[in-house]
């Protein structure tokens, strides 16, 4: 059964509401003297999203995050957090964000509980709520059993979780995590990842930077790849793969790979290039012009006897390597 919808009814339907943005950056430029670390980055992060910021060291990730954390007052362009301008309303922005730098500081003379009590008081949490909130963040970060342990007795992974517990104390909407897993062993890294997943499920918006690609692919709803201060690509993982597949490499082995056949293949509309290697041909395909299936059909029609037809697999690392050229600032 189908339902007919009249024009009047269509008018009454409210238009789809644009997603509320947790972060909005337009043409962001950060310079240190003559050196331009960030060169006109623009991005939007809707609320509830986990945005992964990927790039080699010195690409401009930390500079961008520091702008959002209100720690970088000198920049050009626009940066809004929850609609608040980071430049003109830094205090209000700070109330909404939890920032964890790559070199997080923990006071080693304090116990974990004293450390959290200090920051809870500093965030002006009412005394009546303080204990409950601290118990909650300790439980969330799985540190309840270490509450009375001195901070300098904790492992690096635990200190990292304690730093995360600290940024959660004032229940921020947006978490800015700069390389939260750097320097951690595999177990600690998995623990931090699970904790971030829990925060994602709680509806927190997270902007996380890393150069450990497979970690972000398991966690992020969208990623942005940055190199030498420029955003090379951004979108969901599927979007990025699709972008990359426009020039997908297909490896071929043929029984009859003659120069004539090679010339014929080069003439197929949609073939960008063909590189003859020792045991195979590597064909770069414009996938928006010619799909993989159509290319296969065209090959067979041109008389090619295929023993191998292998489109190059795409993963985060391949994507990263394709999109970046290994340039450093």
């Amino acid at each position: 059964m189908t339902t007919e919808v009249s024009a009047d009814q269509l008018v009454d339907v409210p238009p789809a509401k644009p997603p509320e943005l947790a972060v909005s950056i337009r043409d962001l430029r950060v310079s240190y003297g003559k050196f331009e670390a960030v060169k006109g980055i623009s991005l939007d992060i809707p609320k509830g999203e986990v945005f992964g910021f990927i790039g080699p060291n010195g690409a401009g990730k930390s500079s961008t995050i520091r702008v959002l954390a209100t720690l970088q007052p000198k920049f050009r362009g626009m940066a809004l957090v929850g609609g608040l301008d980071v430049l003109s309303q830094p205090q209000k922005v700070r109330e909404r964000i939890g920032y964890m730098p790559d070199f997080f500081g923990v006071y080693e003379d304090l116990t974990a509980l004293e450390y959290l009590h200090f920051f809870a008081a500093a965030y002006k949490l009412p005394t009546s709520r303080r204990k409950g909130v601290i118990d909650d963040v300790l439980s969330l970060t799985d540190l309840t059993h270490k509450a009375n342990a001195p901070v300098d007795g904790l492992s690096r992974g635990m200190k990292q979780r304690l730093a995360l517990a600290r940024v959660l104390l004032h229940d921020p909407d947006l978490l800015l995590l700069d390389e939260p897993a750097s320097g951690l062993d595999p177990r600690a890294r998995i623990e931090v990842r699970e904790l971030l997943k829990a925060l994602k499920d709680m509806g927190k918006t997270i902007l996380i930077s890393s150069h450990i690609l497979h970690e972000l692919s398991q966690l992020c709803t969208r990623i942005g790849i940055i190199e030498t201060g420029e955003m090379v690509a951004q979108g969901s993982l599927d979007d990025i793969f699709r972008q990359l597949q426009l020039k997908r490499v297909i490896h071929l082995r043929l029984e009859n790979g003659t120069p004539d056949l090679e010339a014929t293949v080069r003439q197929i509309d949609g073939v960008d290039s063909l590189e003859s290697q020792v045991d195979r041909w590597a064909v770069r395909l414009k996938e928006d012009v010619l799909s993989i299936a159509d290319f296969h059909e065209a090959l067979v029609k041109s008389g090619a006897r295929l023993t191998m037809f292998q489109p190059e697999a795409m993963d985060m690392e391949t994507a990263f390597m394709k999109l970046t050229e290994g340039r450093t600032a």
């Binding site: 520091r66 954390a69 209100t70 720690l71 970088q72 007052p73 205090q91 700070r94 109330e95 964000i97 939890g98 920032y99 730098p101 070199f103 997080f104 500081g105 923990v106 006071y107 080693e108 003379d109 304090l110 116990t111 004293e114 009590h117 200090f118 920051f119 809870a120 008081a121 500093a122 965030y123 002006k124 005394t127 009375n148 001195p150 300098d152 007795g153 730093a163 600290r166």
Partner: protein, 516 residues
């Protein structure tokens, strides 16, 4: 082992030679020497023996610089590795204690001896100004070098023995103060009517202290009390004691660099709850008071120390004048007041050198910057914690003043002294805080030298203005005019000298928050 030790030592010296900043410091020092010579030459136009006066001043400045370096620059040689947790890594890498000590401490000693060496060509110019011979100059520098050797190695011992730089600095300060205080105290005690054995022991100790004292030695060289010899008893005693402290540090190194020994958290959770308690409304004051300044335990210990100092003077007065009903004579009251004031100054300088430096070293500036406070509020809370920790000293000063305020108010030079002391203390603490955000080690000695050099100029002007204010007030029949002048000069000092430093501290703090 020898190869590893030599490599680390060479690397340390090479990195010092290749780094830019040590050469800038040396260049700055040379410029300072030229200025000092110019000042001495200008001084010579209306005086006698300007070369001697100039060199005397340089020597006193060197003694101050070396002594202050002991409680800041040299004392962090090993503790900075303990603070950053890298000492265990060095040990795991098989680096021997000798290699660590040579590369961390002896290289600093050599680098500092270079600062003495660089002065020599300039100080020889003092001969042309008159009043001093080259033999006196060489003897003085040998005395200073030996004193530096002793101070550096005492500081090294403190650095090996203590777990943190703060504790090592406190320990070294206590040892240095005890050394300098021992002379006058022993001399006075020896004049009392005590048992002959005690008097004899005090005299022996006093003589030994005088033989070791660089101040006594320089006085002897520059006043021409003795025939100038290059290698005196002071030289040999200082070098031998320095060597002894070096060996002791080496022997104790393993014992005090053990990671299990380095964990200070022996207190149970119950004890910590009692001593630490709930966080205050001003959280940074709570944190710094308890975990930086040591909390109530250290407050109590300091109170006992200050009361002990005053009681020592009272005891001394009782021995001198057994029938006197007063606790302290005028002279001893002023001595006690200035001693407590001096200890308070040292305490302030030590707090100033570490309060922001510790935050920078612990990479916690960004976390503090994210708090819902403006930077000045954060910094003021830290000042508040230090002020709270200084209360025992301030309270004792106040009580001494109130005990017989007439002794102090009758002293005409007291307002100028107060202005100069306040100027020196505030300027040096401000500079120390600022420099501690720029330099890793030498904030305190640099700040003290800059303050010492600038106090006669700017502080003298301030004290002079206080006198002018007093005279103007007297002409107009205003009582307390002198103290009004003091207040006016404090405002002037704050506005034109301290406020620019405070603004730079805030700027630097904000810059570090994004760099950390």
């Amino acid at each position: 082992m020898i190869s590893g030790t030599r490599t680390l030592f060479n690397w340390s010296l090479k990195s010092d030679a290749q780094a830019f900043s040590p050469h800038i410091v040396r260049l700055g020092f040379s410029g300072f020497m030229l200025l000092a010579i110019l000042a001495a030459w200008a001084d010579s136009l209306g005086g006698i023996a300007p070369g001697l006066n100039f060199f005397d001043w340089i020597c006193r400045l060197n003694v101050l610089l070396i002594s202050v370096s002991g409680i800041s620059y040299f004392v962090s040689a090993v503790t900075e590795e303990k603070d950053s947790g890298s000492l265990a890594l060095l040990r795991l890498a098989g680096v021997s204690p000798l290699a660590i000590i040579l590369s961390k401490s002896t290289s600093r000693l050599i680098s500092s001896l270079m600062l003495l060496l660089i002065q020599l060509p300039f100080t020889f110019l003092a001969i042309t100004l008159g009043g001093i011979t080259w033999q006196q100059i060489i003897s003085s520098y040998l005395a200073l070098a030996a004193w530096m050797c002793l101070v550096a190695n005492v500081a090294l011992f403190c650095s090996v023995r203590c777990r943190t730089s703060g504790r090592a600095a406190t320990f070294a300060s206590a040892l240095l103060l005890a050394f300098f205080a021992a002379g006058p105290v022993l001399r006075q005690v020896a004049t009392l009517s005590l048992p002959a054995d005690v008097i004899q022991a005090c005299r022996g100790l006093y003589e030994e202290q005088q033989l070791m004292s660089v101040v006594t030695r320089l006085d002897a060289i520059l006043r021409g009390k003795v025939e100038v010899t290059f290698l005196s008893a002071q030289f040999w005693r200082n070098v031998t004691a320095g060597g002894g402290m070096f060996l002791l540090s080496l022997l104790l190194f393993n014992r005090y660099s053990d990671p299990t020994e380095m964990n200070p958290h022996g207190k149970s959770a119950k004890v910590r709850r009692f001593t630490v308690g709930r966080c205050w409304r001003l959280p940074l004051v709570w944190k710094d008071y308890l975990f930086f300044a040591g909390g109530s335990t250290i407050m109590l210990l300091k109170s006992i120390l200050y009361v002990g100092v005053v009681l020592a003077f009272a005891w001394f007065h009782n021995l001198q004048s057994p029938g006197d009903a007063r606790w302290l004579s005028s002279g001893l009251l002023q001595n006690a007041f200035f001693t407590v004031g001096g200890l308070l100054t040292v305490e302030m300088l030590l707090y100033a050198s570490n309060t922001l430096f510790m935050e920078a070293r612990q990479s916690s500036i960004a976390a503090l910057r994210m708090l819902p406070y403006q930077t000045p509020v954060v910094l003021l809370q830290k000042v508040g914690a230090c002020a709270l920790a200084l209360l025992p000293g301030v309270l004792i000063l106040f009580l001494l003043f109130m005990y017989r305020s007439d002794v102090f108010t009758a002293n005409d030079s007291l307002p100028q002294l107060a202005v100069l002391w306040l100027f020196f203390t505030l300027l040096s603490t401000h500079l120390t805080v600022l420099l501690s955000l720029y330099t890793k080690w030498a904030a305190l000695p640099i700040a003290v030298v800059v303050s010492t050099v600038s106090t006669p100029c700017i502080g003298g002007a301030a004290a002079g203005l206080a006198t002018v204010s007093a005279q103007a007030a007297a002409l107009n029949g205003i009582s307390w005019g002198m103290w009004f002048g003091v207040v006016v000069n404090l405002v002037w000092m704050w506005l034109f000298v301290l406020l620019p430093i405070e603004l730079e501290i805030v700027n630097r703090w904000n810059r570090l928050s994004r760099d950390s």
